[in-house]
Amino acid sequence: MRVYIAKRVLLFVPTLAIASALVFLVMRVLPGDVALAILVSRETPGVVANEDDITRLRAQLGLADPLPVQYLTWVRSLATGNAGLSLYTRRPVAELIGERLPVTLHLAVYTVLISLFVSIPLGALAAVRQDRWPDYVVRAGTILGLATPGFWIGLIVLLLLVLLFRWVPSPVYYHVWEDARENVSLLVFPAVILAWRFSSYQARMVRANLLEVLRQDYIRTAYSKGLAEPIVVLRHALRNAMLPVLTLIGGELTALMSGTVILENVFNVPGLGDALINAMRQRDYPVVENLLMFYMTFTLTINLVIDLVYAVINPRIRYAE
């Protein structure tokens, strides 16, 4: 197992190297000039930036160097753990990630917990009551969850809160250890909305897998031994039906790291997705590049962890040394 983990971790290096080159090139190929973007965003009528300013700023930002030099400088700084400075704010990118990551992790943890809490019982219920009303209800709810965009539900929820209760959550984010009540009241709405979507995937997956497992011989044997249905389902069937759900959770965590920007904006959650979109808008290369590298490392790590958890849950899985 240790050799397997070491091999997988070593494979991170070429994967990240290729990814970093791609990220760097894509950012440079995109139309527009960061120096120009910064200067124009600063400008007000009567305040003037000219070609000299653009050249000077490009030089100050290290953008006048040839592309290979810029790339190597970036990779070198990454290797030494220095993510560089934002071109806009001149603050360290690591500081930005450090500020935003706990917020996104909070939201991700709430979302995953809610979605697991909801999806597994509902998926199991739909499977054991196949083609009866609980199954129909779960299927309809999950289809609606998959078909409705989260940002739209977010806006509707916000509107309903205003119209029905004359109340919206405070726009100030507090960590759970600072003010648990404020933290939950702000994050519960986006977490539930996100969880609806994710639990829809999971419930459908649990239902489909459980239906397959329930038709296996060993389940029939368990029933014939006289075991009660809850024991058969929970102890024997559900555990085996859960494996693909784990893969889904890995994908969800990755998506939650970056893909919740609109909901973050609607509920004023200062997470990583919001930071990434702002940086893209500003063509803030170091922030975008380092955030994307962070996402990639996170995705690779999560995938590895999920693979390892597979082996723990299912003793039949053994990774080749």
Binding site: G32, A37, V137, P171, F267
Partner: protein, 546 residues
């Protein structure tokens, strides 16, 4: 089966409720009310909550100008001299309690306040002014001063004593104080914290200024909070104990926060101002508990490139000016919140032309449109022509309106939509046929920056070398050299008339009016005349207890 039908009916019911609720936001229309001036005795104390568009995550006023940063941070910093209120063309004392100007408008001597202190307790002295001016004139590596034009005018600065500085200009200029008083010229650079540590950032040293409020805390993405500066040099000010600026990433959320009482004052920034439907909702729901105040925003303009043959002909340009239905533009683009106008917005000291009576601007269009057709035919374009209108991604709506309106004149156009940096660069390089942009000013000094051909990102770089632009340059040079107020007004009017009517060098579309809302407990809030003034200092604001 019956149960399935019941579930289906339930979903339909929920959707129906949503469909009933949603139009509530979209259908209402109305005009903003007027700001209420308070004559009551200010009550000290209180911490109002104010909306802010996105994060104020940069901090050097010398380098950045966006309202996102200015709204919360400018309360931390004072100026040498400041714009007057409500007449923003005048200049008032700030850190300089008085000043002397030589007869030739070349030597300015500033006498500083004795009781001004930085927030960290260090006294504010003439050496701080010297450091600030030198930093502005010759920015250290890593700093780009966008206001260097003003600083470049200062040929020599002398520190006469701790409280007196003398600035000698390259040449006499009556508008120097006006430029110095621009709201962006904030002194956020204490010498004792910046010297030897450049490029330094105000946020990196704790936003130390001399303003009425001190920095308290900044939670990125959530809150920027400032508190009362007990050592502020203006006695009795500020009234408030502090201000919380709630950072909002979404305009709908910002509106919901005000609507549910989580904000006392809505924020300033394009996209965050109250729309007509929102104003109606607030009036209906909050009644007398809400106040509204409006001011004018930058005006939409159609800018021509004379290298495109039709636009070199004054008759074509005049035809377009006469043809555009500006009342309709106000309705279609601004949802009724705006007026037809030109460079100087209504209420500005130089707004002396009554545009409502001018051909092309007046409500009655029939005669103007006949004349427009005649002029176009006379110029040889009886059947019209086609052109490409450059615009930026966020300005498609007014662009499309222009396209639609000009169709009636036989002129067809297509939009070339690019991002703002690209638009700005192509404008400066003259790579466009017509460009849609926004511009506005309240003084001749701003007009100089916007229309003088020496400004490569102004309105007329593509006209450089042509007699019309040379005439504008000559008029502007003469106007800004004039000290006499009446003469300046006369020349401003002459310039506006020449640019907009006689030569139709640009075609204004409309002047949007933007609206903020605040609770009736908020008193003394000063809105600017125009958006560009960034006049949002809060030292006069106080909260009335219910």
């Amino acid at each position: 089966m019956r149960r399935n039908i019941l579930w289906g009916a339930g979903f339909v019911l929920v959707l129906a409720v949503l469909l009933v609720v949603l139009p509530d936001l979209a259908e209402r229309r109305g005009a903003p009310g007027a700001a209420v001036a308070s004559t009551e005795k200010p009550e000290p104390g209180g911490i109002p909550r104010v909306g802010n568009r996105r994060d104020p995550d940069v901090s050097d006023p010398m380098q950045w100008t966006s309202i996102t940063y200015a709204q919360p941070q400018y309360n931390l910093y004072s100026q040498l001299v400041r714009r007057g209120y409500p007449d923003e063309t005048t200049v008032e004392p700030d850190l300089a309690e008085r000043w002397d100007v030589s007869a030739d408008d070349r030597v300015y001597t500033f006498h500083l306040r004795k009781n001004a202190k930085w927030h960290d307790g260090k006294p504010f002295t003439a050496r701080d002014v010297e450091y600030w001016v030198n930093r502005g004139k010759t920015p250290p590596a890593g700093v780009l001063n966008l206001f260097r034009a003003t600083f470049a005018e200062i040929a020599k600065l002398e520190v006469l004593d701790d409280r007196t500085v003398r600035m000698t200009l390259v040449k006499g200029r009556p508008g120097f104080l006006f430029d110095l008083a621009t709201n962006y010229n904030r002194m956020a650079h204490p010498r004792h914290l910046f010297e030897g540590k450049e490029p330094q950032r105000p946020d990196a040293v704790g936003y130390v200024g001399t303003g009425p409020f001190k920095f308290k805390r900044y939670r990125r993405g959530s809150l920027f909070e400032i508190e009362k500066n007990p050592d502020y040099f203006m006695p009795g000010l500020p009234y408030l104990d502090g201000i919380q600026y709630f950072i909002t990433q979404d305009a709908a959320t910002h509106f919901a926060l005000f609507r549910t009482g989580r904000l006392d004052l809505t924020g300033r920034a394009a996209g965050w101002y109250m729309t007509s439907p929102q104003i109606d909702i607030l009036k209906r729901e909050m009644g007398e508990r809400v106040r509204f105040g409006s001011f004018f925003n930058v005006a939409w303009h159609l800018l021509y490139n004379p290298s495109f043959a039709p636009f070199a002909d004054v008759r074509v340009r005049k035809a377009i000016t006469l043809w555009l239905n500006r009342q309709e533009a106000v309705r279609a683009i601004e949802e009724g919140q705006g007026v037809p106008g030109a460079y100087f917005p209504p209420r500005a000291a130089y707004a002396l032309i009554d545009w409502s009576r001018q051909p092309g601007w007046r409500a009655s269009k029939e005669a103007d449109r006949e004349e427009a057709k005649r002029l176009l035919a006379e110029a040889g374009y009886k059947n019209g022509f086609s052109f490409v209108l450059l615009t930026r991604d966020l300005w498609v709506r007014p662009g499309e309106w222009v396209l639609g309106d000009l169709k009636g004149l036989g002129i067809t156009a297509t939009l070339d939509v690019v991002d703002q940096p690209t638009r700005s660069k192509r404008n400066a390089e003259g790579r466009f046929q017509a460009d849609l942009l926004t511009i506005q000013g309240i003084a001749l000094e701003q007009m100089l920056a916007d229309f003088h051909t020496s400004n490569t990102t102004g309105m007329l770089p593509a006209w450089k070398g042509r007699p019309e632009a040379a005439h504008v340059d000559k008029l502007l040079d003469a106007a800004v050299a004039t000290a006499d107020a009446a003469e300046r007004k006369r020349m401003a009017t002459e310039l506006e008339r020449y640019i907009y009517i006689d030569q139709a060098l640009v075609a204004p579309i409309d002047v949007p009016r933007t609206t903020q809302a605040w609770l009736d407990t908020v008193h003394g809030y000063r809105q600017p005349i125009v958006d560009q003034s960034v006049h949002n200092d809060m030292q006069w604001v106080w909260l009335k207890r219910r």
